[in-house]
């Protein structure tokens, strides 16, 4: 290979960042759309105090269950509060809830999975039994039981959901660890005298992490739906704070007078869950070289 051919080959192998971005947009419009939606939602969530036209808890007794108008684009609820503002203020709560639950699941599940998968033996046996036990719970029931014990409220509810998710991640990470720890290159590293910590951190974690990333993204959707469910059951967000699930619960009481109140919070939950799911699926395809794009 001549000296001039080298840069040319490198350029072919590595297209410009913009070209790669364009190719990605074209090859996976679903992922782009999802990321775009989620970024927008995050912006709404962070900028809620600036964007929301009214305070989410300001009551206007003169205007109860008003239909959509120029003043209140989505109408007002049973206490005369602006529905659009409550919808916007619900975004930070829902995102916080999903992230909290998934973070708890990662913090509990990943180290346990790595540890028991690597160490094996009776510790693995015992923990795997415990994981099986926890997985046989209908997870909302487990979350309700734990929330009841911790005390109702959004943070406690999502801690419980995270606790209920943890065994799923632990089992996944354990299985990945079992595969990787017997790989030849890990044996080689061991032969070179690498420490256990080094092997776990440099070899097992990077190789086991991909399915975890996919699973975690899909879990964000389940956590969001769980938050909505628990808030609907009044175990989650407590009034007067706004949450999409809580808004649905309130709207349901006035279903015969103002049915239109039920639509927007439901659509918000649906779109957000859809975006998390689509993102997770796209990552699964992107990260898995054996999977053909169908």
């Amino acid at each position: 290979m001549t000296a001039e051919a080298l840069p040319a080959a490198a350029a072919r192998a590595r297209p410009s960042r913009f070209a790669r971005f364009r190719r990605w947009v074209r090859s996976d419009p679903r992922a782009v759309l999802s990321i775009g939606y989620l970024v927008l939602l995050l912006a709404f969530a962070l900028g809620a105090p600036l964007i929301a036209p009214y305070s989410p808890i300001e009551q206007n007794v003169a205007k109860i269950l008003a239909p959509p108008s120029w003043e209140h684009w989505l109408g007002t609820d049973d206490l005369g509060r602006d529905v659009l503002s409550r919808l916007i203020w619900g975004a930070p709560n829902s995102l916080y809830a999903s992230l909290l639950a998934v973070t708890v699941a990662i913090v509990l599940g990943v180290p346990i999975g790595l540890f028991i998968g690597y160490i094996g033996g009776w510790v693995d046996q015992a923990f795997s039994r415990l994981i099986d036990a926890l997985l046989s719970f209908p997870f909302i029931v487990l979350a309700i039981a734990v929330t009841g014990a911790l005390g109702i409220g959004l943070t406690n509810a999502m801690l419980s959901v995270g606790f209920a998710f943890a065994p799923f991640l632990a089992r996944l990470v354990r299985a990945q660890t079992l595969v990787v720890k017997n790989a030849l290159y890990v044996d080689a590293a061991r032969g070179f005298g690498a420490s256990t910590f080094h092997i776990i951190w440099r070899h097992i974690v990077p190789n086991a992490i991909q399915p975890v990333i996919v699973q975690v993204t899909l879990m964000l959707a389940i956590a969001l739906l769980a938050e909505a469910s628990l808030s609907f059951l009044s175990l989650g967000v407590q009034p007067p704070a706004a949450s999409w699930g809580g808004m649905l619960a309130r709207a349901y009481n006035y279903i015969e007078i103002a049915p239109e109140q039920m639509y927007t919070p439901g659509i918000a939950i649906l779109l957000t869950a859809l975006a998390f799911n689509a993102l997770g699926e796209s990552m699964r395809v992107a990260l898995d070289p054996t999977m053909k794009r169908r």
Binding site: R129, L130, D132, A133, L134, S136, F137, P138, F139, I140, V141, L142, I144, A145, V146, T147, G148, A149, L150, G151, I152, A221, L225, A228, S229, F232, L233, S234, L235, G245, L248, A251, Y252, I255, E256, P259, M262, P265, G266, I269, L270, A273, L274, F276, N277, A278, E281, R294
Partner: protein
Amino acid sequence: MHKLPLVIGNRLWQLLPIIVLATFVVFALLHLVPGDPALVLAGDYASDERLAEIRKLYGFDQPLVVQYGLWLLQVVQGDLGRSLLSSQPVLEMILHRLPNTLLIATYALVVAAFVGIPLGVLAAARSGSRLDSFVTSIASLGVALPSFWLAMLLVLHFSLQLRLFPTTGAVYFTTDPLAAIHYATLPSLALAVGVIAELTRQVRSALLEVFNSQYIRTLRAKGLSRTAIVWQHGLRNISVTLLTLLGLQVNRLLSGAVVIEAVFAIPGVGTLVSYSAINKDFPVVQGVVLILVTMVILINLIVDIFSALLDPRVAEAS
């Protein structure tokens, strides 16, 4: 076939520790966290002596493991304790409500199986076609749909506007089967949609995997039509997967039922557990968890037995 009793015995032996562990986890969580059940019983203005008396009476002053042991001993004798709020026996409360929950869960599972499996087969048989992408998109939508929101929309359109179904409540199946099914239809539909979506996706991907295997290619090469392959070979090969999938949905259905029952004000175990959790009625929460976990585990056992019957390889592996 003679291996079957061995499989069952083996599984039962593995299941017992799972039930004990699962209930212990919940027991420990309910007892370790702050919040004194004695306060719930005694009310806000109880004296310290009265609280101590109640703790002694209910055994709240004993170490956790002792309390759990005593509870387990009672459970084995068929006594789940009494509600702290209504002092009714917990088992009676659960058995009174369980039929309503089981009806909507079973109904939903049947609907889901009859819709989800054919949809998955259809999508897989025509994979890559427009029909396939349509079915797959609808399934993605179904997975992300909050079931309680769908329930509310069903109530709005089918009971309040069209007046085809009752809005709330439930009738025991044993009292009046037709009325029971009439009442259970909307809740079950709301519950079924998520399961249909999940089944469609899983059946589709399981079938596609089978289609990629060598012997199916051989069959195709021999000139067998795609439809014949799906019905004669594809479905038979995924029958065990299908059974496992249906078994896994039970967990999802019971989770979903908790919320759906709230929408339709159905007196089932779901409404019971959320009401009891909010009011810190721990013996009831504990009892519901025990019963539901046992049910899930037993259903998985039944799935395992049928899998062993359907596929000799499974029996061999156990």
